[in-house]
């Protein structure tokens, strides 16, 4: 039941309109870069063939035509979203810092009460961006360590598993397909582990104000391993909005009709992006709740901060 309590607390934190708008709108800004290019790319459709078909959906014939016309490389347009990935990653790292920094401040404030309030002079948005800027460098380093972990998963680990799969499958296609599915499942699970470890490392680093990111990542790996049921169960449930959005996406063409107006399509797609953003925010706050439930930083064990805590004060050097 702790899982549901965590999720419930995380949900309440995530139901913050300002944060949700932030999580949706800030990544939308770099994505808008592609709009002029795409409008130019599809300009032909205004008068030329397949317009009617393309209003109703994708015309494979149009796709083949565009593909084979070297003057307008479809590949380049398709690559644009990929080229924007680094921007998306940087924006996201910044947002993580902003949200977590503010959450930590909130937690401290709750502990410190009026003492903390004295220093809290900034507006919500300036405080948010200040936290983002303060933690950005650390979280970026953490992501680089994460990149190394992903590389290990997708290169040596995957190669070793592939070799194992081929030996195990023999000359049976069925066994080979099953073995490959298992391999991909293992890779997916490992990817999930790395992703969760990165989340918990960020949370721990923010709470401790730590700069030792490698150490935080190491701690987070151990933490997720020790509390794996709670950690994985909450993360799986928190992606439910994404799955629901995906289902809605699948059914969308039915709801919207054969040829929906472009404004309706835009709103529909953005509603789905809002659901995805909410899911991310929910997961992040749930993870924060789990971490704060299971771990209390020793640095916060000042007498004036822990007055209401019944637990014994941990021994720290400056207290002796």
């Amino acid at each position: 039941m702790k899982v549901f309590a965590d999720l419930e607390r995380g949900f309440r934190r995530a139901c913050n309109r300002r944060l949700l708008m932030l999580f949706w709108l800030v990544p939308l800004v770099p994505a808008l870069v592609i709009v002029p290019a795409v409008l130019a790319f599809f300009a032909d459709l205004d008068q030329a063939g397949f317009r009617d078909e393309m209003e109703r959906g994708l015309s494979p014939e149009w796709l083949v035509d565009v593909w084979s016309r070297s003057t307008v490389p479809l590949g380049t347009i398709s690559l644009l979203p990929v080229m924007l990935v680094p921007a998306g990653v940087l924006v996201q790292i910044f947002l993580y810092g902003a949200v977590l920094g503010q959450r930590v401040a909130g937690e401290r404030q709750a502990l410190a009460g009026p003492y903390y309030q004295v220093w809290q002079r900034r507006t919500w948005i300036t405080e948010l961006f200040a936290h983002g800027a303060r933690l950005f460098g650390r979280f970026l380093r953490l992501s680089l360590f994460g990149f190394i972990l992903y590389w290990i998963v997708f290169s040596p680990v995957r190669s070793a598993l592939t070799a194992l799969v081929e030996v195990a499958a023999g000359d049976s296609d069925r066994q080979l397909a099953i073995a490959r599915l298992i391999r991909d499942g293992v890779i997916l699970a490992l990817t999930g582990c790395v992703s969760l470890a990165l989340d918990y490392a960020r949370i721990r680093a923010a709470r401790l104000g730590s700069r030792a990111m490698l150490l935080r990542l190491f701690e987070a790996v151990i933490f997720t391993g020790r509390h794996s049921v709670r950690v994985f169960a909450t993360s799986l449930i928190a992606v439910l909005p994404v799955l629901l959005a995906a289902l809605a996406l699948g059914d969308g063409s039915r709801w919207l009709g054969a040829s929906p107006p472009s404004w309706l399509l835009f709103c529909y797609f953005q509603a789905i992006m809002l659901a995805r953003s909410f899911s991310r925010l929910w997961l992040l706050f749930t993870e924060y709740e789990i971490d704060s439930d299971l771990f209390r930083p020793a640095e916060w064990a000042e007498p004036w901060l822990t007055a209401s805590w019944p637990a014994a004060r941990p021994e720290v050097p400056w207290n002796s």
Binding site: P27, A31, I34, V38, F42, D46, Q47, A48, G49, F50, R51, E53, E55, R56, G57, L58, P60, E61, V64, D65, V66, W67, S68, R69, I77, S78, L80, V82, G88, V89, V91, Q92, I93, S143, G146, G170, D171, S172, D173, R174, Q175, L176, A177, T191, S195, A246, L247, L249, G250, G252, R254, S259, P261, S262, L265, F269, Q270, M273, R276, R280
Partner: protein, 639 residues
């Protein structure tokens, strides 16, 4: 054990081969007796032997240089070769008098073609008997031959006499982009190997006898064929069925399936029945008594999708969707090769389109007719249409599959396919690179070879079918088959029959479609609609590619839904302007509305609307933006 009272072909050569397989070294020890009758009008002082497996001897052979050690998705892993120990003619060993020749590229590392000088010339109609002792090492499965685990596939495994057709030796090395060409003949082949193996081969089993040390000897006989291939695997599940289709003489089908795929036997048999019935009706009955279909195991993908007389390989990989046909498209293509290669034995070295393109054309029609228009096995980029197209997937999986509709390459793929898109997509990039008519290894690269020999030819034949009308075209194909079965026709022979059946000269059609590296394009260059004295005046400028000024139709569609049809004749012009004056304004004009020319390089310029509308453009921009957000969201979630 002859199957027919009279020969169906001119049997130029007879092979008697006794081979013994060592499954430890994967090596064949064999003796071969060749009885060759000079089919030409001139005496021959040499004969020529193809030693195809020497193409896999090392990385410097012509085949491996051209392929880069990579063939149809499979890497070259283990070498194979063929060594002759003796060539005896009239008690004389001719091996010392023999030399490798490299007529195509002079590559001294290539030993795939051997000239054997004869002590005495062979006069026209005279017979030569040569006894050869040879040894063949199986390569790791590659280029549709070799060994993988316990699975053996032996294609081109014996020294084979080159074809002497129309008084000309057809001498070419083994190239990455070429298959084979040989004279018709008779084969008596005895294979000795461990008793646990199940065998399949060209022809019929004459005897199967156990030998000492758990060995068996299986003897096959085949006649009126121009090649002999065999396969062996202890795990084959054998399914036999006698097919009597459409009143034609029955023949036996043997499926050699892997245990995994035995449950798909009905799917195999359905495709075979449907295909052979149609090929029989369209062109003529299958003339042999046997047909073996081989299902290569996992790890032997290099043996997938290959044709030999009376024996083909398919390649059913695990869990094929019921409504997607990557497997059937291969199987049907290879079955069509029984007609276009097996029976009508065109030159695969020099005119690869005559067998590959014709087989692709026949297979495309069969797929469409039997399985319907929403089934596709063609590839698009790195994906198969069947995999990405929601319409090809079972809807019982519910709305989850609706997800595919918003995936970039599958979004709302609900349009009726008017042309074989996979072929169009393969052909377009090479349209101006090579003309269709080339020797197989003279195309710019393997991509151009495949696109020309398979896709462009299929599109060209479909274009011819639509220009001439299906009845005339089908009649011509049937006549071509009947006149050239068990013989070696050329493109010229095909054109002659087509002109004869259509009763008209077709130079203007054949020149751009077969002999020139151009991409025919029919287009609407501009469309202006203006109001004049209470009426609407439309001016439409049409264009077509120089060199391909074929007659084409124009369709005018008006705002009230009414239609007008016009025709732009083949007058040699590359542009023209048409104007109309009507009460109702024109909605759009479309050139070639019936898609008579699937060979058209760009369909999107075939139609032009009078009024611009940004609705489709904005809708797709919204989608691209959404996909971009999703891509960014996904990756940033991992960071």
């Amino acid at each position: 054990m002859p199957a027919w009272a009279a020969p169906l072909s001119r049997r130029v050569v007879a092979y008697q081969i006794e081979a013994s397989l060592d499954v430890v070294s994967n090596r064949l020890q064999a003796t071969e007796k060749i009885t060759w009758t000079n089919p030409s009008s001139q005496s021959q002082s040499s004969i020529y032997l193809h030693l195809y497996w020497n193409a896999f001897r090392g990385l410097e052979t012509t085949y491996l240089r051209e392929s880069g050690g990579f063939d149809r998705g499979v890497s070259f892993v283990r070498p194979g070769w063929m060594r002759l120990r003796r060539i005896q003619v009239d008690n004389q060993d001719l091996l010392p008098l023999s030399r490798f020749i490299r007529p195509d590229d002079g590559n001294t590392e290539d030993d795939t073609l051997l000239e054997v000088r004869l002590p005495k010339a062979v006069a026209p109609g005279q017979t030569l008997i040569a006894e050869i002792v040879f040894e063949s090492q199986f390569p790791g499965i590659f280029a549709r031959t070799g060994v993988a685990g316990d699975f053996y596939f032996a294609g081109q495994w014996f020294p084979k006499v080159a074809a002497l057709v129309r008084d000309r030796w057809n001498l070419h090395q083994f190239h990455a982009a070429s298959e084979f060409f040989a004279d018709f003949g008779q084969y008596d082949v005895s294979i000795r190997l461990p008793a646990r193996f199940v065998l399949g081969a060209t022809g019929q089993v004459v005897s199967r006898s156990p030998e000492s040390n758990d060995l068996q000897r299986v003897v096959f006989h085949a006649e009126d064929v121009h090649d002999f291939a065999w396969t062996a695997d202890p795990d084959f599940v054998v399914v036999r069925e006698r097919l009597a289709l459409g009143g034609f003489a029955p023949f036996d089908v043997t499926l050699l399936l892997r245990p995994d795929n035995a449950r798909h036997k009905d799917r195999y048999l359905f495709a075979i029945r449907a295909t052979m019935l149609r090929l029989g009706r369209w062109y003529g009955p299958y003339p042999y008594t046997n047909l073996t279909v081989v299902d290569p195991p996992a790890g032997a993908e290099g043996a997938d999708a290959m044709e030999y007389p009376q024996l083909i390989t398919a390649g059913l990989r695990w869990r094929p969707w019921d409504r997607s046909l990557p497997f059937e498209s291969i199987l049907i293509h290879e079955l069509a090769h029984q007609y276009w290669y097996g029976i009508v034995a065109s030159n695969e070295f020099e005119e690869p389109y005559l067998d590959e393109g014709f087989a692709s054309y026949s297979a495309g029609r069969i797929l469409n007719e039997v399985y319907g228009g929403d089934h596709f096995g063609s590839r698009f980029g790195s994906l198969s249409w069947a995999q990405v197209w929601p319409a090809a997937l079972p809807w019982s999986l519910g709305s989850w599959l609706g997800l595919l509709q918003e995936w970039p390459w599958a979004t709302y793929a609900n349009a009726r396919i008017l042309a074989p898109l996979g072929e169009v997509q393969r052909y377009r990039p090479i349209a101006t690179v090579d003309p269709l008519v080339r020797f197989s290894w003279q195309y710019r690269d393997l991509e151009s070879y495949a696109a020309n020999a398979y896709s462009r030819t299929e599109l060209t034949l479909t274009t011819l079918e639509r220009i001439l009308g299906r009845d005339i075209f089908d009649g011509a194909m049937k006549a071509y088959f009947e006149r050239w079965r068990f013989d070696h026709p050329t493109l010229t022979d095909f054109i002659a029959i087509l002109e004869e059946r259509s009763g008209r000269r077709l130079d203007a059609v054949f020149e751009p479609l077969f002999f020139r590296a151009i991409a025919p394009d029919f287009r609407i260059d501009s469309l202006d609609v203006s109001a004049e004295q209470g009426q609407w005046r439309s001016a439409i400028r049409l264009g077509r590619t120089a060199g391909a000024t074929l007659a084409v139709d124009l369709l005018l569609v008006f705002e009230d839904g009414s239609r007008q049809q016009r025709r732009w004749d083949n007058d040699g012009t590359t542009w023209t302007e048409i104007s109309t004056q009507t009460v109702v304004p024109l909605r759009y004009a479309e050139i070639d509305p019936q898609r008579v020319f699937p060979i058209d390089a760009d369909f999107s310029n075939n139609r032009r609307y009078a009024q611009a509308s940004s609705r489709a453009r904005l809708g797709w921009t919204a989608r691209f933006l959404f996909w971009t957000q999703n891509v960014m969201h996904f990756w940033s979630g991992l960071a």
